[in-house]
């Protein structure tokens, strides 16, 4: 999809492979196609922005990549596993091991402190309470919120909430970070900080990131930008994130 001479991850292994993926929904008796004959590969360590108008299939594609939904037809292979063959409970287990989610509205548990929110995915592992606490501290440190560990979501700014959500997505060390409009609810400056943090996670931690966004400035932080329209891939391009490195700042 891109020029190997300019792409530092060109030699990386393929993490995600979509072959002739189609997704349709039933609306009454009508069958509505959302994705049609979609072919896509994502290499480990890539940072991909998915763009397109509303109804183009971005979120549906993200849901498929996250194991929240299954394709109607086609092959969906992530990290060597055929997700299109998995049952609901298998997908649930797979999500816990392989994916971190970051949402537009953060989706933190309001009754839990930042550290307890970050600890949630670790409850599905075999880690002891002490080990979980170490992982949580490291994740909060990584997003620059070590000093906000005991704060509840309502005591944090939007940017800080999103950082906690990123820490929660990272804490179990998933193969794939999926972000649905992660800066859609933030002001420009805070959004830039979050995007810079994501760039850092991609470059320094080699996290593979797929981000759905409407915002071209946000998309520009990715290595690659993929445009969808009416459920089909219409264009891909190289984002500024593929060339420049931005510094990461902390706080809201």
């Amino acid at each position: 999809m891109s020029d190997a001479r300019q792409d530092p991850i060109a030699d990386n292994e393929v993490l995600v492979e979509l072959k002739s993926i189609a997704k349709t929904y039933k609306k009454g008796k009508e069958v509505v196609p959302v994705l049609a004959n979609l072919n896509l590969t994502i290499k480990r360590g890539d940072f991909l922005a998915l763009m397109g108008p509303s109804g183009s299939g971005k979120t549906t594609l993200l849901n498929l990549l996250g194991g929240l939904d299954s394709p109607t037809s086609g092959e969906l292979i992530i990290n060597g596993e055929r997700l299109d063959k998995y049952s609901g409970s298998q997908l649930t287990q797979w999500r816990a091991r392989n994916v971190g989610f970051i949402f537009q509205f953060y989706n933190l548990m309001p009754v839990l402190t930042a550290e307890k929110n970050v600890e949630l995915p670790l409850l599905l592992t075999n880690l002891t309470s002490k080990e979980r606490k170490l992982h949580v501290a490291a994740a909060l440190e990584l997003v620059g919120l070590a000093d906000r560990a005991k704060h509840y979501p309502k005591e944090l700014s939007g940017g800080q909430e999103q950082r906690v959500a990123i820490a929660r997505a990272l804490v179990s060390d998933p193969n794939l970070l999926l972000c649905d409009e992660p800066t859609g609810d933030l002001d420009r400056i805070t959004a830039d900080e979050i995007l810079a943090l994501m760039q850092e996670l991609n470059r320094e931690q080699q996290k593979t990131i797929v981000m759905v966004t409407h915002d071209p400035r946000a998309a520009d932080h990715a290595r690659k930008i993929i445009h969808l329209d009416k459920g089909a891939l219409v264009k891909d391009s190289i984002g500024a994130g593929g060339h420049s490195k931005k510094s990461v700042t902390t706080g809201g």
């Binding site: 849901n63 996250g66 929240l68 939904d69 609901g88 409970s89 649930t92 287990q93 999500r95 816990a96 091991r97 989610f101 949402f103 509205f105 989706n107 548990m109 309001p110 009754v111 839990l112 307890k116 600890e119 949630l120 995915p121 409850l123 599905l124 309470s129 929660r168």
Partner: protein, 385 residues
């Protein structure tokens, strides 16, 4: 610990609603503890009654007497170890509100048959047997009226004496104690011989027979033999185990068990609706959060467990507090009503029944939101955000 912390935190979101729900459950289980204890107390005569004792009454009704001659006829039957008699006296002390159970009995045999339930010092027994107007009273009754051995007790009886007076006077010759905690010591026993000779009407009859059988396994045959012996006579009999007799006697006043069951059914049904609605409402408010848990990889079963656990915590908090208050109240009441309701106490069986009721209520109130959680579609739920 994390999950318990999470559950408690979730319940703390709407503190007023949670507290009110817990309070209403507390009241339900307080009623449960009180009414069940009361029901057991009324039934306690039946509980402690041994299967080796039979009661023979007139087939028509308990208040119809039996001929005195039946005593020796029954005694002669095979399988009968001992037999004694009793009659209703139906008197009161000073005022009608001071009514208590009094029974003319045969002093020689009555305490033999009930020797595992009551103890009476030998010298007091001898003193009683030696005094025609002597009586023995239970410890609870003596304490209630501050009676002691030697006191003269005037009673107004249901039966008139030959001189037409219903005033009777007795002398306390002994105070008996219970060997079993729930044995009733609020009674008075007087001599049947004296009572029978002194009363104006009904001489030569008795109220009921109490039979001790040699082998409890043959109690049915003995009962049939007794009733067969008097079949087609002027006074046919009905013989049953003492347990059945006590139950039917208690039911003469009211079917306390049925009343208790009906009240508690109504209370728990209402509670089911109240707590069930609260849990359903609480779940509906958190559908997107439940969807996030599932997105993170929490299984359907785990989500179902978390929702159910919340219902159980609410019910167990309210229920345990309700039963604790009931136990305290019953402890106070059992002292106060020791004479009238000697079996009144908060038993382990009631506690276990209460725990079972809590588990059932928790399950029923939590099951609908838990199933909704189980079936929750993540994508649809996240769209609600």
């Amino acid at each position: 610990m994390y999950y318990l912390f999470f559950i408690i935190k979730n319940l703390g979101r709407k503190k007023a609603r949670t507290i009110l729900t817990i309070l209403s459950i507390l009241i339900a289980f307080l009623l449960f503890g009180l009414l069940r204890s009361l029901s057991v107390a009324f039934d306690s005569g039946a509980e402690i009654a041994g299967e080796d004792r039979l009661i023979t009454i007139n087939k028509v009704t308990l208040i119809q007497p039996l001929p005195f001659s039946y005593l020796n006829k029954v005694r002669a039957l095979e399988g009968v170890e001992n037999v004694t008699l009793a009659n209703w006296f139906g008197g009161y002390y000073q005022e009608k509100k001071n009514a208590f159970p009094q029974f003319p009995v045969d002093a020689d045999t009555y305490f033999d048959i009930y020797q595992e339930m009551y103890s009476l010092p030998a010298e007091q027994m001898a003193a009683w047997k030696g005094d025609r107007v002597g009586v023995v009273v239970g410890r609870a009754l003596a304490q209630k009226f501050n009676w002691k051995v030697g006191d003269r007790i005037p009673l107004v009886g249901m039966f008139a004496q030959k001189n037409g007076s219903t005033s009777w006077e007795f002398v306390i010759r002994g105070i008996f104690d219970a060997k079993e905690k729930r044995a009733d010591t609020s009674m008075m026993f007087m001599h049947y011989d004296y009572f029978d000779k002194a009363r104006q009407f009904g001489e030569g009859t008795l109220g009921w027979l109490i039979i001790k059988v040699k082998n409890p396994a043959q109690a049915d045959q003995v009962a049939s033999a007794i009733d067969g012996l008097f079949a087609n006579s002027f006074s046919e009999t009905k013989t049953s185990s003492e347990k059945d007799f006590a139950k039917s006697f208690a039911k003469q006043f009211a079917d306390i068990g049925l009343i208790t069951t009906l009240i508690l059914s109504a209370v728990f049904f209402t509670m089911l609706l109240v707590a069930g609605n609260t849990m359903a409402q609480s779940f509906r408010e958190r559908i997107p959060e439940v969807a996030i848990l599932k997105t993170l990889g929490f299984s359907d079963a785990m989500v179902m467990f978390l929702v159910l656990a919340e219902a159980f915590v609410v019910v167990l908090c309210g229920g345990a507090a309700g039963l604790a208050v009931a136990a305290k109240v019953i402890a106070v009441l059992s002292d106060k009503f020791a004479a009238n309701l000697p079996g009144l106490h908060f038993s382990m069986a009631i506690l276990l029944d209460g725990l079972m009721a809590m588990l059932l209520l928790g399950l029923l109130t939590g099951i609908i939101p838990a199933i909704q959680g189980l079936r929750l579609n993540i994508i649809a739920a996240l769209r609600r955000r």
